[in-house]
Symmetry: C2
């Protein structure tokens, strides 16, 4: 009932907007989606508009607000469309840094919240580690465990992405100590444990390092960084070069393990993202990951796959690492963002060997598990993994076409599912393109030093891809 | 409407329980509170009961569930009473490790969730650092800033307590570098910054250290720990000894600063809880904290007061450090738990000097800010800070009385507001007392190696204190 009220109200507003003759973006490829999605962008002001700028000033009095793009009207945002406080409605291909799984204001989630029996879950937040609700295990089975990576039937929830990774690191250190009969306090102090991060940074190694540290919210670890491959595109033209690049990176990982052991540092695990996201959407071949997996086995290190950004279905499989085709793909998989709750899956042998070993007050939030169960329902019901594959194909094909037509502006178009990106000549051009697109009604995100990344919701369809491509094609044609 | 339905349903269930002749706990001091609180404990089985034990087995298949006390029925839990899955209703003096501010299923929060205009906030979670909702600053002003510690008008939200502390540490390091014109990458690498934790552990220093590390979820920092005073009780009998103890601890802090500087480590800040909670509810005099504050000023260190557990009103002031009576009590104050969202307040000069310096995807959750604004409304409307002072007086007076009657079981009764605790002879006795109390319908928590701590909600009234004291008095009389 509320939903239909909201829809009526919004439709009325739309007619008003149309009637008033506001700037309307070309909608050649637009199509009305499931009944809650809008039919296209609709721009009233530049972005950020006057109301956003006013609110920025206000917020900046309370905290540094320099990173704010604009302020949003989430009540009016629906499906793939983000509405801002100035009434601009934009096709959102960034979805809150990849964290909105099934679009804004999804009717199934509204319904979930309106059911009286669910109210308690939202207002009585428990200390999950000691006093879980009666349906805790059941909800985990209906949500996270329903999509658990093969072989990882143990799961611990956390409140955010960085806690998920940090506690996964702890689980790895505890596993190492127990599996190797190593005592923290005798021969090997906990400070002798390190993890290797496979990570490609933005410039020199020093920067890389400090960026990685910032990302992890850990101010002062001296943990080794191995280079993530930097592939040349188009892949089919650089087969040999890319194989060499990957072989070189794998060698570096092994060298680091040996080098650190000589320094009496134990490499307990290796941490990698299936697609290294913040650092510039770097991909590697399935073969690279299979060989990296072999190295971890050879040296007895844990293999942690960080799926905080890649997980949840956007690559066309629920977990990006499932593309590698291994029987035994990972020991620990961390998640957050689209999963609504943070946490990590792990193998039985990585289970903490006592109570309170992995512990904090909340350990996640049952309200998020409840919503995730419904999100997974929707993903299955609406076949959204195949949708991501198909919509991603349309998007990448279009990007490759634009790349062929505008090679001076677009290069290295790449992607898996809708998890796509391309490079621009430099960060000035990149940022300008993002700003122009926003004013034409499309929200994009940047990553690395010159990439534009696509992180749409799972209900992003091929017609949304075409809508974007039409708008962006015009932008590139006009770009000076 | 829902609430009244719930109440009716529960009242019916209560009559049923009475009629069936279940074990009913002595209710001499019980009184029906505001219309949503129950009128006393009501026990049907031992705790954990059969249903809880079954669910423990089930959960233990998914994650280590050894820390679980019992499973809860949060829908039936109301006010100060926690209902478990076996139908036992207990007076909850632990309130989810001190994280339920105004009791279970508070009518004001139910109402808030039922308002259609609030639905969007619960289902459309934004990336607050880049795309905040239009009412973000307004909600911060109606919630956190309304209760900001004096002089700390800047606030950053986080999703949990450990992220709050970790990001506050980062803010301190950034402040130190900027205020001292120290470059990370030249003379002073970030790894040369340390913080001193004032912390009293459970045994030897090694244990202390590792416990502190566990608490902070940081696996391998070698940061100095200064001892938190261990006061002797009753305070009026040990005035001189306690003064000496505090003076000694302060000396150790200054020694550490000097010692670390000699090692080329820069002590950028000092971290302390107003009442050191997990380590055993250790208190210190207001004079101790004033002098510690002076030391931080003398050495140019930041003063971080960790109010994750003490904040939110339970000591009778909104922030426990307000009892110290300083004009300039802290540079940074961290919070979580009862505040529903994590985060930290800080002085203007601790403001990050650029965008993305303190950043993650969610940076808190507007749904929690919305609920916090309502919680603060209730605290003000119902005068709950004064209530905490009064109920705390009744509780502590009763504990002192029990201590006089059972000195072999209770010692060092102490507290501020309802934030009370006492010691038992050893951990076996402590754990036994907690288990017996639970079976008599009272949930208590332990801390340190032999303490029992009280962490009731803010709607815990003096009649609840008397109810507890009556039950506990009987337990002590029968204790063997």
């Amino acid at each position: 009932m509320l939903l239909s009220r909201q829809l009526t109200c919004s439709l009325q507003q739309n007619s008003r907007l149309f009637a008033c003759g506001h700037r309307l973006i070309s909608q050649t490829a637009a199509k009305i989606d499931v009944d809650f999605d809008y039919d296209g962008p609709l721009m009233k002001t530049e972005v950020p508009g006057p109301r956003s700028r006013e609110l920025m000033k206000q917020l900046n009095g309370i905290q540094n607000a320099e990173a704010v793009h604009f302020f949003c009207n989430y009540q009016e945002s629906r499906g793939n469309y983000l509405v801002d406080v100035d009434g601009n409605r934009m096709l959102d291909l960034y979805s809150q840094i990849s964290s909105i799984p099934i679009g804004y204001s999804h009717p199934s989630l509204i319904k979930l919240l309106q059911q009286p029996q669910n109210l308690s879950t939202f207002i009585n937040r428990p200390a999950l580690g000691i006093l879980p609700p009666g349906n805790f295990a059941e909800k985990l089975k209906e949500s996270l465990l329903l999509v658990a990576p093969k072989g990882l039937q143990q799961v611990i929830t956390m409140s955010c992405g960085s806690c998920s990774n940090e506690n996964a690191f702890k689980a790895i250190f505890m596993w190492y100590r127990v599996s190797q009969n190593t005592e923290y306090d005798s021969l090997h102090d906990i400070s002798s444990f390190v993890l290797i991060f496979v990570f490609l940074g933005l410039g020199c190694l020093a920067t890389t390092h400090s960026k990685a540290i910032h990302k992890l919210d850990i101010p002062s670890f001296d943990w080794p960084i191995a280079p993530f491959p930097r592939l040349k595109y188009p892949l089919e033209e650089f087969v040999k070069e890319n194989q060499q690049e990957e072989a070189h990176c794998l060698e570096e990982v092994e060298d680091l393990i040996v080098k650190y052991r000589k320094k009496k540092k134990i490499v307990a695990g290796i941490v990698i993202e299936p697609i290294q996201s913040e650092g510039g959407d770097n991909h590697a071949s399935d073969d690279f990951f299979r060989k990296l997996r072999d190295i971890t086995r050879k040296h007895g290190c844990a293999f942690l796959v960080d799926e905080v950004q890649t997980g949840g279905g956007c690559t066309g499989k629920f977990w990006a690492h499932e593309h590698w085709g291994l029987d035994d793909p990972a020991d620990v998989v961390t998640f957050s963002k689209k999963m609504m709750t943070g946490g990590f899956f792990h193998k039985e042998e990585f289970r903490p060997d006592g109570p309170y070993r992995i512990f904090n007050t909340w350990l996640g939030d049952p309200a998020k598990n409840l919503m995730l169960a419904e999100v997974i329902n929707v993903i299955k019901r609406e076949d959204l993994l195949n949708n991501a594959t198909n919509a991603g194909k349309a998007l990448l094909a279009g990007l490759l076409d634009l790349q062929a037509r505008y090679p001076h502006l677009i290069s290295r178009a790449r992607g898996r599912g809708t998890f796509c990106s391309f490079d621009t000549p430099n960060d000035t051009t990149r940022n300008k393109l993002i700003a122009i697109a926003r004013n034409k009604g499309v929200v994009l995100g940047g990553c690395g030093d010159r990439s534009i990344r696509f992180r749409p919701t799972l209900i992003f369809k091929d017609h949304h891809a075409h809508l974007f491509l039409n708008i962006f094609s015009d932008i590139l044609a006009d770009f000076k």
